[in-house]
C-alpha cells in the first residue's frame, strides 16, 4: 500500500471523470447520464457562486445550529488515562446527526436547478429524516426509499418522516435493506428523470456525488481545525470516525489529509466479527462496481453483492465511498473495525461518563478510541466525531442489553 507513489496533495481529487485513483467513476444507465452531467454542471456553478455559499452559511447557522461544539471529554480522558479526547458534537445538529449538512447543500442545489421532486434512500432513517426536514422547510415533494426490513427496525424514524410530510416507500426487493433502497431510488430516478433530484446520503454513487457530498460535509473538519487552534493552539494529533458509506468520516478527515503528522483512523462495522457477518468493506471486501462507482465491496466470487450486517443500520452497507477506498490504498488513512459488542460497550461507557448518548454508528468510533487513547501520551490530542445521537437506537440497544422498553 505505502509502496504506491504519494501524491503532492491528497485533497485535489477526483479527476474530471470522477476518479480517485482507480476508484469512483460514473457507472450508470444511459438514461441517467444526461442528468448526472446536468447535476455536475449545476454543482460546479453553485460552488463558484458566493450567493450559494451565503445561503449555505445562513441556514447552517440559523437552521442547523452550526458550528457544532468541539467538546473536551474530560471524564472519558481521565478514565482512559492517555490521549486528551475531544468530541466533535455533530449529534447536536438539527435532526440529530451530520446528515443534515449534506442535505442542506443538495436541497439548495435542487432549488437552483428548479427540481421540485426529491427522492432519497435511507438505512437507519437519519438521512431520510434530514431530507424530509429540508423538503418541508422548502416546500418540496419528498419520497424516501427504505428497505422493508429497516422500516420495521426503525419505526420511530418512519413516523418522523411521515410527520414531516414525506412519503416513505418500503422496498421489498433483494435483501430489503439500504443497498436495495438505493437500487429502488435509482429506478425511480431513471423513470422520473425530468423533474426529480436524487439526494444521495453518503459519499457514494456516480460522480459528482462522492465529491459533492464530501464538500458539504467538510464543514465538520474545517470547524474542528479552527476550534482546536482556539482550544489548544495547535492541530490535533489524531482523528477517529466511523464509516458506513463514509460521509461523516470524510467530512472530518478531508481538511487534514495534507497535514502529514495527523494520524487518521476510519472505523468500519465488524458486526458479529470479521470472520462472520459484518459490514467492513475495506477490511473484508475487494474492488468492484456498484451504485455508480468502483470501490471496495462485500461480494462472493461471482461478483454478487453480499448482505452486510451491523447492529447499526447506518453502517449496514456492503460498500464504501470511493475516496476512502483510494485513501486506504494510498495508506493515508488507517482503516480498522469494531464489532457490535464493542460498539455497545462504548455506547454505555460514553453515556455514563459524559452524559451523552451517542448513536450506534459513532459508538463504533468510540470503541476504537477506547483502544487507541490509553496507548497515547497525555499531550496527544484525539478528536472523535460523534456523528449522531443515540435516541433513535434506544429500543434496539435495550433489546440487546436484555431489557424491553
Amino acid at each position: 500500500m505505502s509502496a504506491q507513489a504519494q501524491p503532492n496533495s491528497f485533497r485535489i481529487g477526483p479527476d474530471e471523470r470522477g476518479h480517485f485513483g482507480q476508484f469512483g467513476g460514473r457507472f450508470v444507465a444511459e438514461t441517467l447520464m444526461p442528468n448526472i452531467l446536468e447535476l455536475e454542471k449545476a454543482y460546479n456553478e453553485a460552488r463558484n457562486d458566493p450567493g450559494f455559499h451565503a445561503d449555505m452559511a445562513y441556514f447552517s447557522t440559523h437552521y442547523i445550529g452550526r458550528p457544532s461544539p468541539l467538546y473536551y471529554a474530560e471524564r472519558m480522558t481521565e478514565h482512559l488515562g492517555g490521549a486528551k479526547i475531544y468530541f466533535k458534537r455533530e449529534e447536536l445538529n438539527h435532526t440529530g446527526a451530520h446528515k443534515v449538512n449534506n442535505v442542506l447543500g443538495q436541497i439548495l442545489l435542487a432549488r437552483r436547478m428548479g427540481k421540485k421532486r426529491i427522492i432519497a434512500e435511507t438505512g437507519a432513517g437519519q438521512h431520510g429524516v434530514a431530507t424530509a426536514t429540508l423538503c418541508a422547510r422548502f416546500g418540496l415533494e419528498c419520497i424516501v426509499y427504505m428497505g422493508a426490513v429497516d422500516v420495521e427496525r426503525q419505526k420511530p424514524n418512519v413516523f418522523r418522516m411521515n410527520m414531516l410530510g414525506a412519503k416513505v416507500v418500503p422496498v421489498q426487493s433483494g435483501t430489503k435493506t439500504l443497498k436495495d433502497a438505493m437500487n429502488e431510488a435509482l429506478r425511480d430516478w431513471v423513470t422520473n428523470v425530468a423533474d426529480t433530484f436524487y439526494c444521495i446520503g453518503t459519499v457514494a454513487g456516480p460522480h459528482p456525488y462522492p465529491a459533492m457530498v464530501r464538500d458539504f460535509q467538510c464543514v465538520i473538519g474545517d470547524e474542528t481545525r479552527k476550534q482546536m487552534m482556539e482550544a489548544e493552539g495547535r492541530l490535533p494529533d489524531s482523528l477517529v470516525a466511523c464509516i458506513g458509506g463514509g460521509s461523516n468520516a470524510i467530512g472530518l478527515f478531508h481538511p487534514f489529509l495534507d497535514d502529514k503528522d495527523v494520524e487518521i483512523y476510519g472505523v468500519e462495522a465488524a458486526g458479529h466479527g470479521l470472520d462472520k457477518l459484518h459490514a467492513a468493506s475495506l477490511t473484508g471486501g475487494r474492488p468492484g462496481v456498484l451504485h455508480g462507482n468502483r470501490t471496495y465491496l462485500l461480494m462472493n466470487e461471482d461478483g454478487q453483492i453480499s448482505d452486510a450486517h451491523s447492529i447499526s443500520a447506518g453502517l449496514d452497507y456492503p460498500g464504501i465511498g470511493p475516496e476512502h477506498a483510494w485513501l486506504h490504498e494510498m495508506g493515508r488513512v488507517t482503516y480498522i473495525s469494531a464489532t457490535d459488542d464493542e460498539a455497545l460497550e462504548a455506547f454505555q461507557l460514553c453515556s455514563r461518563l459524559e452524559g451523552i448518548l451517542p448513536a450506534l454508528e459513532p459508538s463504533h468510533a468510540l470503541a476504537k478510541v477506547i483502544e487507541l487513547a490509553p496507548k497515547k501520551p497525555k499531550d496527544h490530542l484525539m478528536v472523535v466525531n460523534i456523528s449522531g445521537r443515540g435516541d433513535k437506537d434506544l429500543f434496539q440497544i435495550a433489546e440487546h442489553l436484555g431489557n424491553k422498553l
Binding site: 467513476g25 444507465a29 444511459e30 447520464m33 444526461p34 433483494g174
Partner: protein, 279 residues
C-alpha cells in the same frame, strides 16, 4: 467482429421484415430449463437471443427481471455456468446471434480480458452492459471491440442529439433504443412515437436500430416493427415463464411451451409488417 449479427439483420432485410430479439435470464428457473428455452427461441421465430447475466442489484430492471435474477442466483447460476450454457446452445445453433446482457460487476470480478476470451470462445456475439455509459468505454467497450465482440449501446429518450454521437461512437452490431425513461417491464410506451425516435437515431448511424421496453404482445410487436429494424421482448417472456412455475419456483412441464407460444405470437406480429416499401 463475429458476422452473425450482421448476417441476421441482412436476412431479415431480405425477407422485408423487422427482427425479433428475445431476452430470457440465464439459470431461470434452473440452468437446464433456461437452456431448453434458449434453444427453442429461434425455432419459435426469434432472430437474435439475449441471455441475461443474473445480478443481485439490477438497478435498471423492473420487478420481473429482478425476480428472475434472484431465482437464477438461488439455484447457483454464475458467469461460468452461463458461458457453459451458451457453449451448449452454440453446439446446436451456429447462426443465431447470442447477446449477453447484464451489469458490469460480475464481469469485472471475472476479469475483463479473461471474460472476453471465454465469451468469444463459447460463441457470444455481443454484450449489453447496462451500467457502462460511453464515459466508461475503456472499462469493457473498447476491449470488447478489440476482442471481436460487439458492444451494443442503449440509447434513451434522454439521449439528445448532442449526446448521440458519443453514445454511438463505439457501438457495434446494433443500437438498442429504450423506448421509455424507466425500468424494464414498466409502462407501455406510445408506439406512435417510436418511428420518429428511430429516425432521429438513424440520422447518426448506419447500424440497425431495435426498440425495446414495454412490448408485451404480438400487436405491440407489430406496432414497433413498423418503425424499427427490430423489436426486443424480455419482461413479458419472463412473466409467462413465472406463471408456469410451481409453488417452490421450479419449472413445470408447461414452462418451455408457454414461452415459445408467446414468442410465436410475437414473431407473427413482427412478420405481419412488411418493410419492403421502406427499403
Amino acid at each position: 467482429m463475429t458476422k452473425r449479427i450482421e448476417a441476421r439483420f441482412e436476412q431479415c432485410r431480405a425477407e422485408g421484415r423487422a427482427a425479433l430479439v428475445t431476452y430470457i435470464m440465464a439459470g431461470d428457473p434452473d440452468p437446464e430449463t433456461s437452456l431448453e428455452i434458449l434453444k427453442s427461441l429461434p425455432k419459435a421465430g426469434a432472430d437474435i437471443v439475449e441471455f441475461g447475466l443474473p445480478f443481485t442489484d439490477p438497478m435498471a430492471d423492473g420487478p420481473a427481471i429482478q425476480a428472475a435474477g434472484l431465482r437464477a442466483l438461488k439455484v447457483g447460476q454464475d458467469t461460468v455456468k452461463t458461458l457453459d450454457l451458451i457453449r451448449r446452445f452454440r453446439a446446436e445453433d451456429r447462426d443465431t446471434p447470442v447477446i449477453l446482457m447484464g451489469y458490469f460487476n460480475p464481469l469485472y470480478v471475472y476479469g475483463v480480458d479473461r471474460f472476453l476470451a471465454d465469451a468469444k470462445e463459447v460463441g457470444v456475439d455481443g454484450l449489453i452492459i447496462v451500467d457502462l455509459p460511453p464515459e466508461e468505454d475503456d472499462e469493457l467497450c473498447l476491449p470488447a471491440l478489440k476482442a471481436g465482440l460487439a458492444f451494443i449501446r442503449l440509447a434513451t429518450p434522454t439521449t439528445d442529439d448532442a449526446r448521440l454521437p458519443a453514445v454511438l461512437a463505439n457501438t457495434a452490431g446494433f443500437v438498442y433504443y429504450v423506448s421509455i425513461t424507466g425500468i424494464t417491464g414498466a409502462a407501455t410506451p406510445d408506439f406512435g412515437k417510436v418511428a420518429s425516435a428511430v429516425e432521429r437515431i438513424k440520422h447518426h448511424t448506419p447500424l440497425p436500430v431495435v426498440v425495446g421496453f414495454g412490448v408485451k404482445s404480438g400487436a405491440h410487436a407489430a406496432a414497433v416493427a413498423k418503425g424499427a429494424d427490430g423489436v426486443v421482448v424480455g419482461s413479458a417472456l419472463i412473466d409467462v415463464l413465472k406463471g408456469t412455475l410451481d409453488a417452490e419456483g421450479r419449472a413445470t412441464s408447461r414452462s418451455v411451451e408457454a414461452v415459445t407460444t408467446l414468442v410465436k405470437e410475437l414473431s407473427e406480429g413482427v412478420r405481419s409488417v412488411s418493410k419492403r416499401a421502406a427499403a
